[in-house]
């Protein structure tokens, strides 16, 4: 997993609420056995017509946002299906951070496994960031994970919360399977106890 430390880049505004993972990556692109290559189909049905032409009004098709690295999104981003293809598609497009008032649980978890930082901010802060993002490509946002601060293009700074363990993994690009395997003795011991207490399981 690629490390996430600090990022300065273009933020694309997507004020729509309840953007679900079917919108982020429609099911016809889940028939892959790889993690890569999904960026071209990110938001496919919002981004392209049925015959594959770009829909000019869609934010990521606009010249200012074609290289966006951050999304500022409406409430409850990433709801619905558990498909990790959603963060894979975001990452493959180049998105490394998403900021919203709230995220669906599974999507939120999936982001951290892929080097994407989801940031929860209060509504009034998201409104400021949304307005900043709407200024276009010159308005670059900075996300600093170490100090847990987001800074707008005009220098307004906002602190955010992130779980310490997840921050550690993201900043160091750690594979959490490896970390868990270091606890193999604890898992062995749990299995021993559990199989005595609940042998049917």
């Amino acid at each position: 997993m690629e490390k996430f430390t600090t990022l300065t880049g273009i933020a694309a505004p997507m004020p729509l609420v309840n953007i679900d993972t079917d919108m982020i990556i429609p099911k016809q692109f889940l028939k892959t056995i790889k993690r890569s290559g999904l960026g071209v189909n990110l938001f496919d049905e919002m981004r392209y017509t049925q015959d594959g032409a770009e829909i000019p009004g869609f934010v990521l098709n606009q010249p200012a946002y074609r290289k966006a690295e951050v999304l500022i999104a409406g409430d409850n981003f990433g709801c619905g299906s558990s498909r990790e293809h959603a963060p894979w598609a975001l990452l493959d497009f180049g998105i490394r951070a998403v900021i919203s008032t709230s995220f669906a649980d599974i999507f939120y978890n999936n982001c951290f496994k892929n080097g994407i930082l989801p940031i929860v901010m209060p509504k009034d802060v998201v409104d400021v960031l949304m307005a900043d993002a709407q200024k276009g490509a010159n308005a670059r946002i900075t996300v600093d994970l170490e100090s847990q601060i987001v800074t707008t293009s005009d220098g307004q700074s906002f602190a955010f919360e992130v779980d310490a363990f997840r921050k550690h993994c993201l900043m160091n690009g750690l594979d959490d399977i490896g970390l868990t395997m270091e606890k193999a003795a604890a898992i062995d011991s749990f299995e021993g106890k559990a199989s005595a207490l609940r042998p049917w399981a």
Partner: protein, 472 residues
């Protein structure tokens, strides 16, 4: 000991390790696997030389991609990429030695139907699957939730999941349901109340008389859609109905082990003075047969209602509702029962079990679907299909003009050839009405199996209670 909820109890019994910051390593009793969200996880194991830690607790079945037409044994019925995914699961199951129900097995079906049917899902267990509708298994008093593919790999390798404990929400449905109202109407009405993000960060326990009165299958329907309310998992405390459902299933304990299991399962309930972070109460009598009108499961109203206007909402929902109405081709003020449909889909992990088929067949018996409607029934598993044939339900569907299909996820998410065309409108017993969910441009109205059957007869969304009065 302090009073605990059911969630607290199951959680406490599965913590392998707790870090100082509260991050826990949770032991997983059952890992269900399907073909769409697992290939990258198995590939990850291969690349790192890891094995599946507990193959005996890992159960795989292809369901999302598989065709449901009778000729599906012919490989040509599947697209190349679907076939590759199913073949990858065949190979991964074999290479890693996990339990497997291939497409050719009569026990094949939707993973959330097969798990309980085969007795893999039991009370008090932790269950995960790379699928958000894993919440279904909570009906047994099992802590069950969907995970992403990286977590699938983590569970395959370690039989544990890194988790922080969620909050406790109680959803109580008091009293009894009225005739024509079903588990589907309960679960949709709850989402209408909480919104799709209302359960985020919570585990919901459903309780109250109306929940106790539901069969196990109805309880699975309720828990199945916990995720549509944003909840990580839905739970229902196990009771005699749960034990009766589990007894004798192929992978349920037997003899003395059964007795020991039941004794433990009887401890799985929320203590009377347990603390809840959020409580929602609905009266069973107040719940009506409902349908969704928009593109979020929270867009739900009684069938007697009318399409709302964006101005009925506030904040970001105003724009979302306008977008929904444009997508759905609906006008504010239009009666929901006037909405004309093209397609009826009965099936999915929400409503693809035998009781769902019985409920639909009861409405359809001796009648014919409206001319021009495409209607299909996709049983949730090969065994559900066989039982429906034995009970004569299949013949009722066929006589009514429905297609009688083989088991799979089918038109719920339309990864296989069962899809809506742009603009086509479907009355669906599935769980999501998102834009494009059942096919690009397709329009989905979620409802119960009985309501879907009623819509098939009239050609428009219909209050099933009117047809029930007719036959009474």
């Amino acid at each position: 000991m302090t009073a605990r909820t059911l969630y607290d109890k199951i959680w406490d019994d599965h913590v392998v390790h707790q870090a100082d910051d509260g991050t826990c390593l949770l032991y997983i009793d059952r890992h269900l696997v399907h073909e769409v969200t697992s290939p990258q996880a198995f590939e990850g194991l291969r690349m790192t030389g890891r094995s599946v830690r507990a193959p005996g607790k890992t159960i795989a079945v292809p369901d999302h991609n598989v065709p449901t037409t009778l000729d599906r044994a012919n490989a040509a019925t599947m697209t190349e990429d679907s076939r590759i995914q199913v073949e990858a699961l065949d190979k991964n199951a074999k290479d890693f030695g996990i339990h497997y129900y291939p497409v050719s097995d009569v026990r094949q079906g939707i993973v959330h139907i097969v798990g309980p049917e085969q007795g893999w899902t039991l009370p008090g267990m932790t269950v995960v699957c790379g699928d958000s509708h894993t919440a279904t298994h909570g009906a047994f008093g099992a802590l069950a939730h969907g995970i992403g593919t990286s977590e699938v790999e983590h569970v395959l390798a370690t039989q544990t999941l890194i988790q922080r404990k969620g909050k406790n929400m109680k959803v109580e449905i008091t009293g009894s349901l009225r005739p024509g109202v079903t588990a589907k109407d309960i679960t949709l009405s709850v989402i209408g109340e909480t919104g799709t993000a209302g359960g985020t960060g919570y585990v919901i326990e459903y309780c109250g008389q109306a929940i106790r009165e539901l069969s196990m299958e109805g309880r699975m329907t309720v828990c199945n859609m916990a995720i549509e309310g944003g909840a990580r998992a839905g739970l229902i405390a196990p009771d005699e109905k749960t034990f009766a459902y589990c007894m004798g299933r192929p992978h349920a304990p037997k003899g003395a082990a059964w007795e020991a299991a039941v004794a433990y399962w009887k401890t799985l309930f929320s203590d009377a003075d347990a603390q809840w972070d959020k409580v929602i109460t609905l009266k069973g009598e107040d719940i009506a047969p409902v349908v969704t009108w928009g593109t979020s499961p929270e867009d739900v109203l009684p069938i007697t209602g009318t399409v709302p206007s964006p101005s009925d909402f506030t904040g970001g929902k105003v724009e979302a509702v306008q977008r929904s109405l444009d997508y759905m081709g609906l006008t504010p003020g239009q009666k929901l029962s006037d909405i004309v449909i093209d397609t009826v889909f009965i099936g999915s992990c929400t409503n693809g079990r035998i009781e769902d088929l019985r409920a639909a067949a009861a409405i359809l018996k001796g009648k014919k679907k409206k001319d021009g409607i495409r209607a299909m029934v996709v049983p949730g598993s090969g065994l559900v299909r066989a039982q429906a044939e034995e009970e004569g339900l299949a013949q009722i569907f066929i006589d009514a003009g429905f297609e009688w299909r083989l088991a799979g996820c089918s038109m719920c998410l339309a990864m296989n050839p069962d899809q809506l065309a742009p603009g086509e409108r479907c009355a669906a017993t599935s769980n999501r009405n998102f834009e494009g969910r059942q096919g690009r441009g397709g329009r989905t109205h979620l409802l119960s199996p009985a309501m879907a059957a009623a819509a098939a007869l009239t050609g428009h969304l219909t209050d099933v209670r009117e047809l029930m009065t007719e036959t009474a």
